[in-house]
Subunit: 348 residues, 2 copies
């Protein structure tokens, strides 16, 4: 299939589920007292987002239960043993965790914008942003403990969500530390990406298998799917920062280089002897010229660093597709394959 | 019993359990990678703390199981139906949540000191403090989902911990909002105290009843015990700030007044027509004189506001002791009564 056809199928699958996910977010996170706290907590969730992780969860449930896509009520989804479970609640819990991490990360990175709107600590203030994140954190656990799953499964899914959150904190901490270290190995970077980004995809893919009552081997395989696909997604992000025109990217191309952010590409280049710190003279994205970035990219290309990142991402995507073989061969499984494919072929 | 005798008994009960709690904290929160993150996460827990909430949890378990105090292994504690459960892990989870809230609250209140050492955002930095709090948050849920309780009980205890955390965030948000509001009712203040402080005592007291498999009515009663006792504790704090000499208090007496912090006392005084904002001219605790504070306290006393707070705290303590009547009549239950008593008779 062409990458355009894959993209269309993935975008359709996301769009078809997004309204349902957004409705469920509203139901699970009503505006309560104190109003300002709940508005700040919901602010980023209302500002947009593709709902990639919930889509992965819902597709895994459909693939595993082997039902026609969109034919079953996600709120009363058939378990493998005949009971029912609210897989939508679990999907929302994971998106709520994602939103909490964005709010706190934006504080740590001092980012002013997110999803085209001011970040929470800019739109409100630091205290409210810390507290809005903390509120989403506990709300996610309230939601995950209330899916109507068999108690052992609910407890296992909640334990997995908790250990996922711990790993995300570890990954964020590594990322912050990397900024102060002179030498980081590509393998260490991949470990960081796994913790900071990929484990939440792992959780999104594995949770429905737990709640539906699948075998442990299925849960493990789906967790690996999420880890590989999520890592591929992040590495592709690093590639796109250098290869996509600024207009299409929505920000200055090469901004990672200008801002001295290490990626798999720069770390590989360092190992090849490239003087990464000397690639760009400009100090800010406003100062840098397209010509300067072209030259830097050419040097990284010559060192094989961009190809290395592309190949690493492609390998991870292929590995993630292999993990899906524990699922019945059906339309939803093919969409999960498409998502992994899309993660590394997407042009923005 | 005299209040000194009560205090001695409570302090003994705490001291006898503190070493065990501290050992369990070390076991449940080992230093992992990244080291700096885990050191920052453990920093306040290692700096001290009475372990009041864990002591409440352990005493409730002992009272309910009707075992000799300190005779049973908290890690393999007898359930009412004959099984075993790790009540110590649950107690640690609650203390870990307490520590997370202190770290994030200190950021919001911009407090430099905590337990006699620099607060985490001062000892480390803002980013590390946010992340250390977030790490403790998820660790607490990892621990609470792994007590070896029956799955339904483990899930219920985890759900209660999550909703408790949501309430704490709501309470902290109300507290922050109160600083900007011109008029707050005493009832609103009591609501805030309930959410910000008391619910975690409610959780500490109710959780062991869930994990041991007690009836819902017992869980409800113990939750109420914690709510009443925890609220009484906080109100007594407000009284002590005005009535205990600075040397004994470890900080300037009347600092709440100097810093314009509303308490049940000032809110009651406002209702009695006292010009609370005019009580103290000094802008900082360094400037204020003992004579100025004496005069302010005399005015609050004349308005009946200090007595009102004392009576409210005493009523709450009495109510909390009534809630304990669902427990067997034994030594541990008497210690829980003593704790409630101590909360309102303590002199510091």
């Amino acid at each position: 299939m062409t990458s355009e056809a894959t993209e269309t199928r993935v975008m359709d699958a996301i769009r078809e589920r997004r309204e349902l996910v957004n409705e469920a977010i509203d139901e699970e996170l009503p505006v309560d007292e104190p109003e300002r706290l709940y508005e700040a907590s919901r602010y980023l969730l209302k500002a947009g987002g593709k709902r990639l992780r919930p889509t992965v969860s819902l597709l895994v449930a459909e693939a595993l239960a082997d039902v026609e896509p969109l034919s079953a009520d996600y709120r009363r989804f058939p378990r493998l043993d005949g009971g029912e479970v609210d897989v939508m609640a679990a999907a929302v819990a994971i998106e709520v965790i994602q939103s909490f991490t964005l709010i706190h990360d934006d504080i740590m990175d001092d980012d002013d914008l997110r999803r085209g709107v001011p970040s929470v600590h800019r739109a409100y203030d630091l205290d409210t942003a810390i507290l809005a994140g903390d509120t989403l954190y506990s709300k996610a656990f309230e939601i995950m403990t209330d899916t109507g799953a068999a108690a052992e499964d609910g407890l296992e899914a909640t334990n997995m969500l908790a250990s996922t959150c711990t790993k995300i904190c570890e990954g964020q901490s590594m990322d912050v530390c990397f900024e102060e270290r002179t030498e980081v190995l590509p393998e260490e970077y991949l470990d960081m990406v796994k913790l900071k980004t990929a484990v939440l995809y792992g959780d999104a893919a594995a949770t429905p298998t737990i709640l539906l009552g699948a075998d442990e081997s299925v849960t493990d395989a789906l967790y690996e799917y999420g880890i590989s696909a999520g890592s591929a997604f992040q590495i592709q992000d690093d590639v796109l920062d250098l290869t996509v025109p600024s207009e299409k990217l929505g920000k200055q191309r090469g901004s990672d280089l200008v801002e001295d952010k290490e990626t798999l590409i720069t770390l590989h280049a360092r190992q090849q002897g490239v003087d990464v710190d000397g690639l760009i003279d400009a100090e800010t994205v406003e100062e840098v010229t397209e010509a300067e970035i072209d030259e830097a990219v050419a040097e990284l290309e010559a060192a094989g660093s961009i190809d290395y990142a592309k190949e690493t991402a492609a390998e991870l995507a292929a590995r993630s597709e292999e993990s899906l073989q524990v699922l019945p061969d059906n339309e939803s499984r093919r969409l999960l394959e498409d998502i992994a494919e899309f993660f590394v072929t997407r042009g923005y």
